[in-house]
Structure formats: C-alpha cells, structure tokens
Assembly symmetry: C2
Homo-oligomer: 720 residues x 2
Amino acid sequence: MVKQIDAIMKPKSIAVIGASTKPKTIGSEIMQRLRDYKFNGNIYPVNPKGGIIEGFQAYTSINEVPGEVDLAVIVVNAKFVLDTIDQCHEKGIKGICIITAGFKETGKEGAELEKQLLEKIRSYGMRCVGPNCLGVLNTDDNIRMDATFAESLPVKGDIGFVSQSGALGGGILNILKDLNLGFAQFVSIGNQADINAETMLEYWENDDEVKQILLYMESIQNPANFRKLASRITKKKPILALKAGRSAAGASAASSHTGSLAGADKAADALLKQSGVIREFSLKNLFSNAKAFSNCPIPQGNRVAIITNSGGPGIMATDAVCESGMQMAKLSDATKDKLRSFLPAAASVKNPVDMIASAPIEHYKQTLETVIADENVDMIAVIYLPFLGLADIDVAEALMEIKAKNPQKPILGVFMTKSEFFTKIANMNVNMPFYMYAEEAAEAMTRLDRQRQWMNRPEGKFPVYDVDRAKAAEVIKKSLSEGRAQLTTLESIDVLNAYGIRACKYGLATNVDEAANVANNIGYPVVMKITSKTISHKTDVGGVIVGIQSEEHLRQEYAALIERLKERNILDGLEGVIVQEMVKGNREMVCGIATDPQYGPMMMFGLGGVFIETMKDVTFRIAPLSDVDAEEMIKSVKAYELLKGARGTTPAQIDQIQETLLRLSQLVTDFPFIDELDINPLLISEKTGEGIAVDGRIKVRMNEAQEKLGSCCDCCSCNG
Amino acid sequence: MVKQIDAIMKPKSIAVIGASTKPKTIGSEIMQRLRDYKFNGNIYPVNPKGGIIEGFQAYTSINEVPGEVDLAVIVVNAKFVLDTIDQCHEKGIKGICIITAGFKETGKEGAELEKQLLEKIRSYGMRCVGPNCLGVLNTDDNIRMDATFAESLPVKGDIGFVSQSGALGGGILNILKDLNLGFAQFVSIGNQADINAETMLEYWENDDEVKQILLYMESIQNPANFRKLASRITKKKPILALKAGRSAAGASAASSHTGSLAGADKAADALLKQSGVIREFSLKNLFSNAKAFSNCPIPQGNRVAIITNSGGPGIMATDAVCESGMQMAKLSDATKDKLRSFLPAAASVKNPVDMIASAPIEHYKQTLETVIADENVDMIAVIYLPFLGLADIDVAEALMEIKAKNPQKPILGVFMTKSEFFTKIANMNVNMPFYMYAEEAAEAMTRLDRQRQWMNRPEGKFPVYDVDRAKAAEVIKKSLSEGRAQLTTLESIDVLNAYGIRACKYGLATNVDEAANVANNIGYPVVMKITSKTISHKTDVGGVIVGIQSEEHLRQEYAALIERLKERNILDGLEGVIVQEMVKGNREMVCGIATDPQYGPMMMFGLGGVFIETMKDVTFRIAPLSDVDAEEMIKSVKAYELLKGARGTTPAQIDQIQETLLRLSQLVTDFPFIDELDINPLLISEKTGEGIAVDGRIKVRMNEAQEKLGSCCDCCSCNG
C-alpha cells in the first residue's frame, strides 16, 4: 500500500489533467501553486489545447507526456473523469487525486458515478484521493508539493493533517500559516471514495516527518479499523481530532454535506476516547493545542508552576489549572529560598510565583531556571504583561534561550501583549508555544498531560471467560421460534446466567415442596410471585410476597396464597410460583448495550434507577471492551463515589462489576445481533457489595439473528 | 457624589504630582500620555525641581498651580502621599487618583497608611481612585484624558471598564486596541480604598457614553450593594464580569495579591447570576463577547440562522448553536423558495444555508437579505471561507452594507481567513462583529440572548409571610441559654414550624393515651420513637417503631415497647415517646442556608439524600431571595425533572417548595446569625407532592445571636 500512496504524497512527477491558462480556475490555480511552491520534480500540464501553462509545456493528452508520471491531479469535468482514469491506467499511473466535484455529494446519479470510479481505481490497482477535494501537499524539502488551490502557500512543520471538508481545508491552511503551525503533509480527502483518514493514519504511523496527526472529520468510515489503528499510533504520536456533526441538527447538516452518514456523537466520543485520540470541539482549540505538541515534550506529570509579573493573570492561570484537574506544583523550600535570594521583598515565591510588575528580564531568566530545576514541577507557564520599557520580544527570546538549555519540561508562554508580538513570533523559529491568554496555555497543558496518561495507560486485555454459549443461543432461538425479538425477563436472565453474569437467582415451582426447595437453594430472604395464564395484575390479588425469611414462613405464605386464589376463584390459571432471591441494597446502577447504526454495539454503565434520565450520569464505550476500558468506565461516572462506599454503605465489588461489563462485551461479541440489552437496576448488594442484575431485558434484530442462529446445528456450540 | 467623580473622570484640569523628566518612570509616562492623547484641558506637572516636563511648565508645589485643579494624579512615594493629600485639600481639589503603590497590598504597615489615607479623603470630602493602580481614562472628545501608563493609547468606544488589577489593566488596553474594542472610560481601581466597582456602576448607570460595563474583579467589596446596583443597571445595559480567584488555590493567590479577601466562588457566582451580570471565565471570552454587545442589538429570541459557503463550518456552527441551548431557526417556506430561486441546485436552502464554495458576493447579499426578512429568525451568523478570488474584505463590506439597512437583528460574521483581515477590520468603522471561528460567534449570541432573557425577567418580589417570629426567637434563646449553638432536631423543626415551613408533624407523649392523642391528630401512619436519658442507641433496644397504622396498632406497640424495656431493665430513664408523621416518598431533595464570610447567608437547593455530595446537583443564591430567584433555583437543578413527576410519581408542589425557600430566606433575614441550616431530606410526599422537612438542623453564631437576642425583651417580637 505504502508504495501507491507514496506516488500521491511523494511523487517525482505530477500531471495536472485539466490544467488551464484561464485565471481564477482550479486548473490554473493548481498549476500556479505547484510552480510557486517549487515542486521538486516534473510538472506536466494536460490540456486538449496544448500550449504553455504557467511556464510549462502542456500536453494534449496524458499519453503524450514523455516521462513517467507518479501522480495525476484531475480537475476535468466529472463526466470525463472515468475516461481520464482509463487513460491514466494506460500511462501506468498509480497515484490519483481527483479535485473534481459532482459525485456522491450531489445525489443518486453522482453516487453511481463514484461507485464506477471506485471500481476502476480498485481494478487498476491505483490509490485515489477525493473526488471533491482541495488536493494534497507535502512540505518535505525533497518534495515541495503544493497541489491544492488554497490561498496561502504552506509553512513547513511536523503536522499531518486530514480534512474531510475541502473549503474548510483552505481556511485551515490560511489560519495555520498565521499561527506558524507547519504541515509535514496535508490531505483533503473529500468524498473519501478510496483514501480516508484511516489510510493516512496508517501511512503516517512510521513517517518521522509527521510528529502529530490532526483530523477534521464529519464521519468515521470504518470505526473498528479506526480504533485498531488509532489506539496503536497514539502510543507513538498524538492524534488530535475535531469530529463535527455532534448535535442532532449538526448531524443532519452533515448528511447533506459530503454525503456521509453522520455517526451518533456518543459513539464517536467513546471511540475516540478508547483510541487515545484527543478530541477537540473547535478548530481554535485544535490549532491552539497542536501548537503545544509542536513545541513541548510530553511531561512527566501534571504539576504546574506559574511564573508571572502580574498578580491578576497569575490568579486566572491558577483558576484554569485547578479547574482543568491538574495540580499546582508545590515548590520545594530550596526553590523558594533561592527565589527569595534575588526577587524583591514584595514578590511572592509561592506558586504562582509573582515577580511583580517591575521584574526585569534577568528575573524572568533566573526564576525560570530555578523553577525548572525543582523536581516537584512538571510543566511551567510563564506570564508576561507589558510594563514600562520591558519589550515582549526580549522576554520571549530570554525564555527561549533558557528553554533551549532545558528541553526536558514543557514551558509555555502567556504573553498578554499586542498582536504584533504574535505576528513577529509567527515568523521566527520558536522552541516553545506562546499564547495570549492563560486559559489557552492551561488547556494546552491538559492535552500534553492527557497524552502522557494515554502513553502510560496499560495496553488492555480482552479476556475471554468460560461461558455457556450454547445455552444462550438456545434461549435466544426459543424466543425467535416464538416470533419474539424481545426476550422475556426470565429468558434475559437465563442468557445473563449463561454468560456468568451475576443475576438475581430464581426458580420455578409448581407446588409448595418445590418452592421450598428452590428457596432453600437460593437462601433467604426470598420473594415469591405467582405466574398465571389468567392473572395479569399479580399485586392486585396479593400475588407478590416479599421478605420471606424461612422455609416455615414460605410454607405459611404459600398456603395463604392458595387460599386467597381459591376464595377469588382464580386458582385455575395458576402455573406455579417464581421464587426469587431478595437482594437488599439502595444503590442502583445500570449497564447495558445499545447499537449504533454506524459504530455497532456500544456498552453503557452508570447510575441507574429513576436517575438515569435525570442525572445522565452514564458513560459509553464501543464493544469489545478491554479490561482497562471497563475499569475506566466504572471510574469515570460520578456515582463511582457511591460505589466506593460513601456514608457507611458496603463498598461495591468493583472487580466483579468490571467483570460484568466484560462478560456483557463478550456476549455481544458472540451474538452481534443483540440490538439492546438493559440491566436496570444492577443493584449493589448491601450484604456482599456485588452488582446483581435484578432485571434484564434483551432485544435482538430478528432477521440477522435468524440468519446467524438458524444455520446453526442443534448443539448450538458453533460460531453462528 | 456624581460631581466629585466627575472631577476625576471628566476633569477640566489635571495636576500630576510627582511628574518627572526621567524616562521610563511613571511620572514621565503619565505626562507623555496626557500630552499624546491631547487632553482637552490644563495639565499642571508638579515637581519640587520645577522646570519644563513634556513641554508643560512644572510647579514646585501644588499650591503654586495658578488655576483651579479638578483632578490630582499622585505618583509620589507612598510616604509623601498623606502630606500631598493635605496640600490638595488646601488647593481645593476634590478628585484624587493615587498611582503610588506601597499600601494595603504590602502588609500591616501599608494597611495602616491606607486607613489614614482614607480617613483624610473622607474628612476632606474628596473621592479617590487607587492607591496602587494604573490610572484612569476617558475617550470623550471633549475630555480626551489618558492618565494611565499603559503601552497603547486607547481606542474610543462604548465600554466602561473597571479593572482591579493594575498590570492586567495595561495588558487589557493593549489587547482591546488590537480587537478594535473601544473604551468610553477606564478605571484601574487598585486597592479600591475609596472608589470601587460599585461606585463606577452607579456613576455609569445614566451615562449614555457608556453602553456596556466590563469588570475584572478579584473580590466584591459590598455584595448587597453590588447586587442592588447591578440588578438595576443590567436592566438598562449589559454588565460582563470576569471574577478571578475561583479555585481554592486561585483564591489563595488572590488574598496575597491586592490584599483583598477572596470570596467563595459559589457565592460570587450566585450573586452575579441574581444581579443579571454576565459572568465570563476568561479575558478572551470577556472581550470576544463584548465585541458582540458593541455591534449588535438585543435579539427578540434565540432562533439562529447560519449562512455559509462551506459545509464543514456550517456543521460546526450548528453544533455550537445547539450545544449552547439556542435553537436553529426553521426557515419559512417562502424564504426557502426565494433562496432556491437564485442559489445553485447544489446549495442547501435549509438552515444552515449552504451557498456552496463558489458563492459570489451577490449570493451573500441576497441570501442575507432574504434570511433577515424571515420572521422565524432572531440572529444570523454569516460564514465566509476563502474561495478562488473572492476577497474577504469585499464580502465583509457587502454584509455591513446590508446590516446598515437592517439594524434590527444581530448579524455576526465568521471569517475563517488570514489574520490580516482582522487587522484591517480593526482599523475600520464596523457595524457588526467579526470572528475567526464559529464557536466564538455562537458563544457571543448566547450572551446577547442571555441579556434578552434578563431584560424580560420579571423584577421579582420579596414576599413577607405571616410568621411566628417570637416563637422562633424563643426556641433559639432556649438553646442559647443552655449553651448550645446547635439546636436539637426538634428545636430546629419548631423553628421551621414557626416560619410556616412544612415540617414533619410530631408530638411528645409521656403515656399511651397522650401518644394515641398525638397520633390521632397527626393522622396515620406514624412512627414512634422513645426518648430516654439513659438509652443512646434507640434502634438497638427496638425503640423505633415505624409504620403504625391505627390507634389500636399504636396501643399494642406501646405496650410491647414498655414490656421490652422492662425486660431489659431500662425503663427508668424513659422520658416518653415522640410520635411522628410518617412521610412516604422516594424523592429526597435538600435545602438550606450556608454563610459565606464575605457574602453572608446563601441559600441552597437541590438533590438530597446520599446523592448530595456525589451528584452535586445543587444550586446557590444569596439571601434574601426574590420569588423569581426561588423559582429559578428550583428549575435550574437537574432533579427538577424528578419533581415534575417522571416515571409515574406524583408531581411535586413546585409552588409550595418555592414558598419553603422564600420562608427560609425570611427566617435568615430575621435571624441573620443563623450560620447553617440544613433540611435534608426535604422529602417529596408521594401522597400530596408537598416538600416536607423530615429532618432539620440549625446552627447559630453564639456571640452574635446572644448579642441580638439577649437585648431583646421577653416577648421576643422586637427586631432583635
């Protein structure tokens, strides 16, 4: 694969098919930019009229081009694209970038055209960017390819950028130039008929020129593959993603945009989290935080020191650091003594270190050096506010000098100064990021810290438990055979039991001796409920008896029950009684499975009972879950505090709850046609701390289930 | 008051006492800026050496100054300040601005000096800005006073700005100049010995030059006064405030900064909310949102239309609008038809309106005009991304032209273009705000909408209920007389009862007939608990009996109870039994009172029971509460959904709960020495929907309570 993508991203020769001399057309702009950015290879414009285009000899067809061609950039009208692809194939071209619009994004006909296009691409062994895109670029000095039609020429840097929106890509190129955020490579994937974000992730995995990857996505094409790739690559280099189409309204805008299916945001969020991708919610933050990754090492911890020449911004920075969940570093006594030795008496040598307004450059340098040396400090934000005659740029240069000698810790500048400063900085070779506001620096530090946490996070295992898969299949088949997509509560509990999930114990009994037997096996207290073909409201006839404490008590209650039914003349329909374990506990959690049309089965965990919808204290992850995923789910909800055993309650068995989630994950992996599964409540037993499924509800997708289970042999132990 | 502050903010003559010829000193910088900004009156430098300073004749003392002086700007060393004030008094000067540092912020001695300073100021009938500040400015063409020492000269505009941090003020002046955000007036209040934010609020209330007020605060000096003023003024013009020192660590930095006491953030947040002040959490947002108020009318609603030439940013804007709680406008069919008549087929005429990348300026104009005319639209964000040959500034000018003809609705520009555009715009006379990112525009629209909501919010009444104040005083006095700051549960309930707060009914009984009587009065079911001098763990001896259903049942249980105690030989200490109403309900709310050392009594309401600390679903307001405050409290917590009667529960009596909060507010207003009051749970009766105080806990501040109640006559109906 790499070779064909090399043909696109690192070509030695480019043909621009549809190159033009007409100004303000894409065919002219692309030629200009290839020329202006000084592409390091041959440029062959192709235009039926021939002639000279932007100083290059034009050819009337691609076949006439004299040399080998690695990449064909296609800007001809959509109706000519298929023929052009044929011609490219004849010429032996493997790399294609189709700028031309008029495909899937325009409706049914366009989608059909795109399908034919993709078939050709595949059959010819080509790889293709687009259609409907802004182009590609690579700033490597040996390549220098700008095959886009954005306004600005790119700045060289370490970012690999994938944009799903073409026009946005152009805006991004402008903005990043202003921010001095440089690209290594940029790909506008457009309709992503062939090459998509996943292709580029894999391509950049071992490319040392790309040190961080930025994604603008409106959809994720193959979530499982994305997860596999991203969770591996994020261990080596950060991936920051802006996934748009979060709101229902936004998602509907997405589907009318590049014709992509909008993913449910909960699922996308879970997927990105599990993949170690840092999700950003605005372009501003995406760029602001990328700036930190470009100029900072990954820190060793989250203890932040702040150095300032003005109290107010020091307070604001402290607020931002604390609110983001990082810690204010506790400076050592040695550090404080040293600071005190040169700072004036009015200065504060505690963190935030306030050097006071009159601090000269020398104080900035000495203070920073002293604070860097403190072992209790992992990251440092240095704040500058203008004060009589102290020039911002001089302070910045002094800081960068210290930073150059101390590359091991992230140092961020907060310069509340004129925008001219940032323009100046944008044209310099900086070794640390500079921000206008303390909050931006604090946010960037949280991202550095999150990357640290992810890199330290254990890989995670996908345990396989010894379960009774055949039994579960049998229960589901029975329900299917009766035409029910929705399993009964007892069937659901049987399935959970088959997968070793601790569910409320129960048994059916048709007489008092059987009932006593069941109850004795379960252990007291128990609940006894009638099951009858004729009685629908059990409680109305006293058909539910709770708190049965002993066999004797059970026998009394059973007799009394029969008597009541006899009196009312409704004994006939009685099939028996269900004797059920009575679980005591007042902490109701919930766990379950939901299916997202695009992302597949998704696990949920959180606070259950009446609070589910009100408090929304739940979290989602895509199945299958690793043990680390399951642990993080449990610890990420607020109700985790309740599980730990607040206010004298029994601490919950966190391990057992974690196993419950993992077993559920195994269940839905084995039976992927499970559409919904709810365990609500998962009651935390006050006696043992176990999470016990008191109620269960499973629904399958009928057709899919029948297809899979129907072909199954009777023993039900196959993979179906 | 206005007159003396006029002397400071609108002086006809200024003396700079401590003016200097030495470069890079404050005494020189202030003179330069007064000159450079072309102050519209007389400038009198005062320096013992005399001579010429920045082209003005200097005087060796203030007495020598020939004309009248309105404002004295003092930059002499702190030790000379008191004498200088005396001299200013002799000269008849009423307006003082002390730049000099070395007062309260430096410790005890400085605080003493500041105290003496304030005494002088007061006794001389002067008003004073500072000490330890950056100065004051007024951009009115008739005044043109820049008496600060910031880097940049100010831009004229409509903002009144109060900054509590001097150095920060300097940074702010720089930044605002870059953003083209103009000031009407700016005051750096420094240590706010005399003039503080409240003074300036009142001063600007009816000043037509000041159309919005921005505050940077680290503390609020007189919260009650601030609330009174701000809640009145915000009905006329927006107040945006950044209150720093939110985190515990930030607050500790605050107290070491300008020597001010840091307020607890919960209280500050409540106060700002109740006062209609728009709270911002970063300078960036403060400025970004002020830009909208400078250039937009207050909208009629929260329905937003988005116009874009690029799908991606349209989606991002939609996400931002929906997530911020605003609505995406539903364009009328007429609007859609009209848009369809001129936009290309590939365009989307639903909101967000995507004109597609190739949209010419004419489409921007026609689309904007069409959308403005739609009655379903309250606010409009117009997005521009660069596309072949369409110049950003031309689009901006076209939009401003339409805006000029249609001033009634807010229109915001989102221009994802080069920073040069913003530099250009900063030097133009714009009539709409321009942002780089969609999220910034969305946030600004939420602020406009919040101001609309506040202006439409009813004033709110402070109802006074008919309560038994004497009874409450009596109960508290009894507790005090026994040396207890903490009232017993029953005493607490008595106090609540005296204030008409629906508490769990109860009665004491010393024999079975009395117990039956009490129970009959309360109504069944009831709970019976022993009260004994010798038994501390009531439940261990079966001393708590729940679910008593009738008098007969009660008599049985009473007899059995006495029997049990006799058997155990512990009947002797028995004082009697408490018979208590048994309230059934599974919704536990909490309400109460906490006292903030700076902001005074603060009311709390939210989800109670075991969830208080885990879910933190509670809200705070400063007492006294208006009826609107109380209503907003109830509706602002997530648990409000539970109160409304989710999942088949009885809807709670919202009015009655509101009244409970208002009566509590009256209670703490009458007895301001109540330090803490907890009603947890306030159980929602499943039968009636009432909120019933099942438990109560009141704690008073001993000394304060004794002082107030001790002097009280026996009848306890006085105001003590």
